[in-house]
Symmetry: C2
Subunit: 322 residues, 2 copies
């Protein structure tokens, strides 16, 4: 490995001078600059990030904790975050937590001991308390951890109401809701939206658990349709469950969208891979990732953003399942 010392020797200057040229900081005579650059090239010198980090207490990297990359909602989010972080010279370290608090806390410790510069997090288990004596800035994505913590997310409640409204407008009278895990923020909000909108329209509610999963959703849909064969609309808390509902309902002989209309939430790629293509409340995933990253970058730079919470609207994308 070639170090700054080697370069200094080769260029016949001090290490301080070499440091100046690689950091483009301070005065360096044109001549010496040339010499140093020459030496750097000859030796193929690359500064050592670890040594740099140790001194600067900074690593040009941020951590991104998500529940599970296997959940089709996250790959796109990750890419969005990554691409805006890279532009600013940061590398993002991805962690899958499975929403196990213990893991998350361990990861945060790890991040501190590696001088990571910031944390982007999607979690329902971490709370303000866990973050209190954390030195690095934190931005939450997709879930509100605390009013005080900068957050970027979609208005799930509003989106849910809109989804239900749409089904009603399409003529549905008996609309069921497939809901996600009890403890997950987004699932609760979407459920609340469903309930309020149904109530507002004087319609009865039918709530079945789907756990944001395909299999669970299929089973619930089968039960739902057995118990209430005349259901004519299903609002699924996410696209994955909506796909499950479509599969199950088709298998049971329902024609979609004629007899039964189904709408999802998220706007993942899967929605267009299936037949019929899924009508859904599309989240601006890329924008969310981008804004979250920008917020964190600002915080890292010591600036305080104008707003703490950035809320986006989900957008109705009508396809063939309604």
């Amino acid at each position: 490995m070639t170090t700054i010392r080697d370069v200094a020797k080769q260029a016949e200057v001090s290490v301080a001078t070499v440091s100046r040229v690689i950091n483009k900081r301070g005065y360096v005579h044109e001549e010496t600059l040339k010499k140093v650059e020459q030496a750097i090239k000859e030796l193929n010198y690359k500064p050592n990030d670890v040594a740099r980090s140790l001194f600067k207490k900074t690593s040009n990297s941020i951590g991104f904790i998500i529940p599970d990359i296997t959940n089709p909602f996250f790959p796109q989010l990750v890419r969005a975050v990554e691409s805006t972080m890279i532009e600013s010279g940061y590398t993002v370290i991805l962690f899958n937590s499975d929403e196990v608090l213990d893991h998350e806390l361990k990861l945060i410790e790890l991040m501190e001991s590696k001088y990571m510069d910031g944390l982007l997090v999607v979690s329902n288990t971490i709370t303000k308390d866990h973050l209190e004596n954390l030195t690095m800035p934190v931005v939450a994505i997709d879930r509100v951890l605390d009013k005080g913590i900068p957050t970027v997310y979609v208005d799930n409640y509003k989106g849910a109401r809109q989804a239900v409204q749409f089904l009603i407008k399409k003529g549905c009278q008996k609309i069921a809701y497939l809901h996600g895990p009890e403890k997950i923020f987004t699932a609760k909000e979407r459920l609340r939206g469903y309930q309020d909108e149904m109530e507002k329209n004087g319609l009865p509610t039918f709530i079945y658990p789907g756990n944001y999963e395909l299999k669970a959703s299929m089973m619930s849909t089968i039960r739902l349709l057995a118990e209430h064969p005349d259901v004519d609309g299903i609002f699924a808390g996410n696209d994955v469950m909506a796909v499950g509902a479509i599969k199950a309902a088709s298998k049971m002989g329902y024609t979609i969208p004629k007899e039964l209309k189904i709408i999802g939430f998220d706007g993942i790629d899967l929605a267009t891979a299936i037949t019929p293509e899924l009508t859904t409340m599309h989240q601006p995933i890329l924008e969310i990732g981008k804004k979250g990253s920008e917020l964190l970058l600002q915080l890292i730079a010591g600036q305080s953003p104008e707003k703490k919470h950035y809320v986006y609207d989900a957008e109705l994308v009508e396809r063939n399942s309604t």
Copy 2:
């Protein structure tokens, strides 16, 4: 931040002694051990990974370069790698390269300057030459970079032949192949398998490009079916394309599997999300990730594995598209 020095002071010993206890190395008197542990607890001391790395030229982390996490093949692979790496105390740093050589090379430089301990890579662009003067061990996954580089992958050729055989056994006589990107190793191997098996059976070949993508596959399938309406079987180079083929063929009025049988390759989750569920050549993704990680771990530990190449068989999973 509390450092080893703080702990030493608190415990009234030298930093060397503290270092010994946190590393469980060398002799430490029972009494002093107690004192030090006490101090560590009181101060909630956590050793600083960066300082450690600087000295040890090691980071307990490995890099994992993949083309694109958005490709549904990778999330599972990533999880498999991550989980076996974590067990050994390593953290994995994921990088999306989009198979752009320039990015990949940059990433490798970054990894070196961070003292990462090893590289796991899925790439068609990196070659032996790029890796030559790399100090860290490398293991390739899913694509063979060079005979000399340890690799873990599936026998794509054999799997492809098996897929075609199966279609023939099911009565197909006019079987088309949707193939992936020209330059991708897996795509080439699968194409070769298709061609050889068709030739062996004296059957004509129909090869259409699908680029491993849904949209491209749909367009090609439409063209295929327009040009050769009597095609009765499609072997898609991957599951994503198979899904596209199903969508397109259905739209054109073909009943699957009655008039047209479709088989894919990979065994991603998407295969069971659609209707009809996709028959496919299933890759043991988890095992591949696990074996790749274990290999790398061995290499990092300075051991040389018995074999350099680990080849798995894809397994035929029959579902409803055939």
